[in-house]
């Protein structure tokens, strides 16, 4: 095999990896906040759909992607508020409410999309966030393609992960979040408002999940379709566990998922590969499973009160 084709192959995979990881990463980092505070939200899939639809419809109507993103985030926050009300105030089982959110997200976005854009005569595509061109950097061979030709929301993850890490580990707010998921009563006795902390963490989680959904319509595909999230919310849940409840952990594990996904798509495009494509499609999921099993020797525990309502 020539060197050049294999370098190009690698370049193609790596460039795609980050893009594919981005929506999962937004949702996963959000879920890190939520779970660190002790609330597990398996309704990410639904929230991502709500974020995607709100962002799309507003961006489409107004013509402004940024306004779309903003409304998407607001929709995410609102979803989080409701989720928090049920799981924190009412103290309902978090898995139950999460399951309900997945159904609601699918139902409400599908219904509204039909009602608003059923068989539309006008084109429904958006002009998505363009790929950025950096002087000099973008033209570096290999690295230019892999690192310096993405759109703004992909680069957003570079900001997101350090900021999330900083907030969680270097601010009083983050300290409180970590305490609240681990030993809420202890936090309570030193004056931390446990319920408020959990509300805020859940809403950060759903807001970021909504950004992940919005990314799909504003910066990847150019329009909403029903079920566009296609299981990424569930993958994000896996990524959180696999990333040991840390933003950087989520970063690396969503990249890992992304690389396997990109790899399987590219292997499918290669001639003379006789592996049934379904096995290639299963590859990212299988890899996640195997790595999860293999890496789990040094066990990192989930936040101690994950899933347990306080008082």
């Amino acid at each position: 095999m020539d060197l050049l084709p294999s370098i190009l192959f690698l370049q193609s995979i790596l460039a795609a990896t980050w893009r594919m990881a981005t929506p999962i990463l937004y949702a996963a980092v959000g879920e890190v906040f939520s779970e660190k505070a002790g609330v597990i939200n398996i309704g990410l899939e639904g929230v991502m759909l709500i974020g995607a639809f709100s962002a799309y419809s507003v961006a489409f109507e107004s013509g402004s992607l940024w306004l779309g993103l903003l409304v998407g985030i607001l929709a995410g926050i609102l979803s989080g508020l409701i989720f928090a009300f049920f799981t924190i105030t009412i103290k309902a089982n978090q898995i139950v409410v999460g399951a309900a959110f997945n159904m609601i997200g699918l139902g409400i976005t599908g219904f509204l999309y039909r009602s608003m854009y059923a068989v539309s005569p006008v084109p429904l595509g958006l002009k998505t966030f363009p790929s950025l061109e950096f002087p000099f950097l973008s033209s570096i061979p290999f690295f230019g393609e892999v690192l310096f030709k993405h759109n703004i929301m992909v680069y957003g993850t570079l900001l997101l992960v350090p900021v999330a890490t900083f907030v969680l580990y270097k601010t009083a707010f983050g300290l409180s979040i970590r305490a609240v998921g681990e030993h809420p009563k202890a936090a309570d006795t030193v004056g931390v408002n446990v319920l408020r902390m959990r509300y805020v963490s859940v809403m950060i989680g759903t807001a970021l999940a909504a950004v992940g959904g919005a990314f799909l319509v504003l910066a990847y595909a150019d329009q909403f379709v029903e079920g566009i999230v296609s299981g990424r919310g569930f993958i994000a849940l896996a990524v959180v566990v696999f990333g040991r409840w840390k933003p950087w952990g989520a970063f690396w594990s969503s990249l890992l998922f992304g690389i396997f996904y990109a790899l399987q798509l590219r292997i499918q495009t290669m001639p003379d590969v006789n592996i049934p494509y379904q096995f290639l499609q299963a590859l990212p999921y299988l890899a996640t499973l195997l790595v999860l099993v293999g890496f789990n020797k040094r066990r990192v525990q989930a936040p101690k009160t994950l899933g347990v309502p306080y008082k």
Partner: protein, 340 residues
């Protein structure tokens, strides 16, 4: 605690309002009132959303034509994709006196065959099917042969391009046959022309479709063909962004990549179905076999070039293609020949 309940309800209502107010409803209100008893009724079982800009939308548009041209009372249902649901949906239509029911996909065959004997006055049509069985004469397979236009596309791609990528949703006949046609067409020009198939495993993941397209482009291909319902949008988007060529499937998709879509394969299912429906309505429809639509049915399946493309298909090539039409229609070229 009653206060709590109130708060919950209020919250949910507010959410609904907020989300719902985001846009104006575009749907027409449901039709009120009954049509005259003898009204001709046509129903559709769609395996997916009818606004997918692809497979399901062709059927929906055909239904709309029956409404405008035949005054038919129409209705459709997006059935849950489970065999358990199909029979019920057929029966629900048939019970209400629908004479023309289209199951838009081969997967409806078993259900139609099971239901049909109970409703001898109703015709059950099946898309993407070659079904015909004299013992259930009111179930008729309708096959619109996508492999023929796609053969042409493959031919054009091989003449003009360096390689082609085909992106499908799932491996079902309407998809895989179109790809077979494309590959045969391309190989007719150049047996070594690089062309590969990718399946996504779903119909919704637009992002994955786009990514699959990009991976073809990275691999050197400059022609794309997407056949994946909703997810197909990702393919057009990749054409637009990466400026590679491609073709539109089932309808006019030029707008999605105005300079890149070289030609559209239009499946005017309505043109094919309205005639059948008119016969059914008149009571003159006497099936003698399954029904095939191909390039020979010029009003049903045809190709429209995009004159505004960056590099429109050159005239010489169009002439060659015109010659291919004849060979395909005569059967000299088998577009569905097994791919080597």
């Amino acid at each position: 605690m009653k206060k709590h309940l109130f708060v919950i309800s209020a919250l949910i209502i507010v959410l609904s309002l907020v989300t719902a107010c985001a846009g104006q409803p575009a749907a027409e209100p449901a039709q009120q009132g009954e049509q005259p008893a003898a009204a001709f009724k046509a129903g559709l079982l769609a395996p997916g959303p009818v606004n997918d800009g692809g497979w399901n939308q062709t059927a929906y548009e055909a239904l709309k034509r029956m409404e405008t041209e035949l005054g038919a009372e129409i209705s459709y249902v997006e059935v849950e994709m489970s065999p358990a649901a199909f029979e019920k949906a057929f029966r629900d239509f048939a019970d209400q006196g629908y004479q023309f029911i289209l199951g838009h996909g081969n997967e409806f065959t078993d259900a139609a065959v099971a239901v049909a004997p109970d409703y001898p006055n109703t015709f059950f049509f099946l898309s993407s099917s070659r079904f015909y069985d004299p013992s259930v004469p009111n179930v008729i397979g309708l096959n619109s042969d996508s492999s023929q236009p796609c053969y042409i596309f493959g031919y054009i791609a091989a003449k003009m391009g360096t390689g082609a990528g085909l992106i499908g949703g799932m491996e079902i006949p309407p998809i895989s046959e179109s790809f077979t046609g494309f590959i045969n067409g391309a190989h007719a020009v150049n047996p070594n022309f690089p062309v590969q198939v990718t399946y996504l495993g779903n119909w919704t993941d637009t992002a994955a479709a786009k990514e699959a397209s990009i991976s073809y482009i990275d691999g050197g291909a400059n022609f794309l063909l997407g056949n994946a319902d909703f997810a197909g949008n990702g393919v057009y988007q990749a054409m637009l962004e990466k400026n590679v060529y491609g073709f539109g499937m089932f309808g006019d998709n030029t707008e999605k990549a105005p300079q890149q879509v070289l030609a559209n394969y239009i499946l005017d299912y309505g043109a094919g179905l309205v005639g059948l429906a008119a016969e059914v309505k008149a009571g003159t429809f006497k099936p003698t076999g399954n029904i095939e639509f191909g390039l020979a049915d010029e009003d049903v399946i045809y190709i429209v070039y995009n004159e505004n493309a960056a590099t429109p298909v050159p005239q010489e090539l169009r002439d060659e293609v015109a010659a291919l039409y004849a060979k395909i229609n005569s059967g000299e070229i088998d577009t569905l020949a097994p791919v080597k």
